[in-house]
Amino acid sequence: MSRQLVGYAILLALMLVAPAVVYPVLVMKILCFALFACAFNLLIGYTGLLSFGHAVFLGTAGYVAGHSIKVWGFPPELGLIAAALAAAGLGWVIGSLAIRRSGIYFAMITLALAQMMYFFFLQAPFTGGEDGLQDVPRGKLLGVIDLANDYNLYYFVLAIFVFAFWLIHRTIHSPFGQVLKAIRENEARAISLGYDVAKYKLLAFVLSAGLAGLAGATKTLVFRFATLTDAHWHTSGEVVLMTLLGGMGTVFGPVVGAATIVTLQNELADKVGSLVTVIMGAIFVVCVLVFRRGIVGELDALYKRMTGAR
């Protein structure tokens, strides 16, 4: 257990000095998507629910944060909280509808409802439609720290990520998390043991939505705008890919997956153009066929094999 802690500590130390070597805005983007993927993983990896419309929470929170900060003049921390709550609220609505069915039906309902929200965003005046919600001021954190400075913002984003990651970590390793895993493994048995499975699923969904929303709101602060792509089903597909590649059902997998995909897209955008989509698709195919455990999953298995049965 403490070995894990040392590992996290080292990582944190690395993250603290990262902006000295890597472009901070890129790292912030990775952190936001890593959080998004971790939140998504809470559902697929730990509860066994494939939400194929998760981008809707990213987008909703992005717009709420942008609007509240830009138009209503909220300070950044309040804007983030409001956005995360909005996403959680939407999560409650969508979750309540989707939870009633399972497996493929669940995925299709989330896709459909996300698509409806997408079209709502397309037409609603406050989102700016295709133009997007632009020029969101970063403001001053707690009225003191100017977030327009990329470095200040970086540490703020890192703090948010660490907090949210810790929250997910605690959730997974709590009794609540155990019930979720039980539901993933064998829902019928969990029901027979007396657990109100629907309530647990809904709670997981709301939590996942809220955290995804937090990621979206933070992203709005970093880039200073919220656009339709945040809510598009391609983004939903992307987060699935990140989690799949990194390792579904592992704590750190989504982070690795997000970092890989974001970096890949960033590097390849200039060099290969359309073929980025082909590469994304190829990764999907390869992962599903031969790499289902994902990077972290495979590393974990390798480690276990090398050190003997645990």
């Binding site: 459909a112 989509t277 999907f284 195919v285």
Partner: protein, 295 residues
Amino acid sequence: MSEIFGVPIQAFMGQLMLGLVNGSFYAMLSLGLAVIFGMLNIINFAHGALYMMGAMFAWMGLNYFGIGYWWSLLLAPLAVGAAGIVIERSMLQWLYKLDHLYGLLLTFGLALILEGIFRDQYGVSGQPYSIPEEFVGAYNLGFMFLPKYRAWVILASLAVCFATWFFIEKTPLGAYLRAATENPRLTQAFGINVPLMVMLTYGFGVALAGFAGVLAAPAMQVSPLMGSNLIIVVFAVVVIGGMGSILGSIVTGLGLGVIEGMTKVFWPEASATVVFVIMAIVLLVRPAGLFGREK
């Protein structure tokens, strides 16, 4: 000029007709999807990309090999079907024992690959494909203007859909197919080559998509994006109709096409979402779909 619900009858009838055309496409595509799901338990996300490939093959056939429309109607679906068989043998067959979701993810990846390749080659502005000589022009029916090509599309798709339904429900081969879906082990024990059936089913399902693609080429633009624009709506159609039900897909496809058309008359901005709203409602009330059976 007489009116229905405050809309001139010409506009109304025109929309009805167009709704039927769109519905025909929905029906054919969802038919392919339903057949594949019924048999393989796989949600074929690549269906849109394969539909696009059908249209692309028709275009490529015309521009590179001088193959005309009528030959394309035969050859393009065969080519797409062959591609489908390759996909099934090389990738899909390893997934049957796994959770359905993996099939969805794999085919999603395939869709990205196929679209990316065509996009890289051809851009997205779309290639022109002219309406075949026989169908240029329209019938002026007085209360509406019916383009000949669109009328042909409706007839051709209805014919194909009906032929498929007949084949699956009424012929011995179709019976084997249905048996293999219900109980592969037992069917195999009777000496029927189930893996072969599965492979042919996938090939047939995507060939249907390819056929729809060729039909679409003269009517819409032949662009690498044409499939992704359509695929989610077709999913919704399949879910509403009930996956695994042939009749359900056909009727739902046509019906939703008409409903979408009507929405375009009275409330155009909502036309993109009406199908999803209906899907959400149906899923809540009757999750197996209007015509489906709970599996």
